[in-house]
Subunit: 141 residues, 2 copies
């Protein structure tokens, strides 16, 4: 991955490019697998420099706030994260909780009247059902 590009995007958002923060970002860019914070923590610590759990959570929070990373809440499970590169929707498996990317397509905006004073920042489409791994065992489960 392009180290310089990561540095740019961090600094462009007013965040220092620390080794710990860089490692989180690089890991997310290399694995579009929607890892949990715990998985990211473990992964970035396989290589040096070591990063504490608090720092991993802090950095994920900062990256989400900066709009570089998205947090996906999954009922009953740890949150998952991905880089906000290309726009896409998500598929979440009822059975195993896996989050998978779905091709992006435009979503019709809500009628003006129904918004009131709310300010809409984004619009997210989530498909739910059984993933490729879980679909076959549907009956047994």
């Amino acid at each position: 991955m392009d180290a310089e590009a990561i540095k740019q995007s961090l600094e462009g958002s007013g965040l220092r490019c620390t080794p710990q923060r860089y490692a989180v970002m690089a890991f997310l860019m290399e694995h579009n697998r929607h890892p949990t914070a715990a998985e990211i923590f473990e992964a970035v610590n396989r290589a040096d420099p070591r990063s504490s759990r608090a720092t991993t959570y802090n950095n994920l929070r900062d990256l989400v706030q900066a709009g570089l990373v998205r947090e996906v809440a999954v009922e009953g499970r740890a949150a998952r994260f991905d880089v906000k590169g290309m726009r896409h929707h998500h598929f979440i498996c009822d059975r195993c909780g896996e989050v998978e990317d779905m091709a992006w397509y435009d979503v019709p905006k809500p009628a003006k009247g129904s918004l009131g004073k709310r300010i809409v920042r984004e619009c997210e489409l989530i498909f739910r059902g059984l993933c490729t791994k879980c679909a076959p065992r549907r009956a047994s489960g």
Copy 2:
């Protein structure tokens, strides 16, 4: 609310209509406010009979599995619940985490090819931004 209707829908799903389970369902039908499990637990215990925390969670899990109730995961906060009566979308506030209903409208299904072996059960549209209460304090916040 129609007590008999609640009883019917529980038994129609193979669930006994126990006082504790009924209380959860009745509370959700009276308050379309998306309460958390903790709020439901507290609310149903203001009246008799008393229901334990484990039972409240167990019943919410059963009701979700039966398709009568929906669980809405909110990043960094407790899950929220609502009855699956009329179809609707959700608006989730970035700042305070409030979940609000939005008028339902049809969502275009994904292209056939993009699904693979996945089985889609439902399709959920989530709007994010600032709610009516939080929008004014945007800058300060």
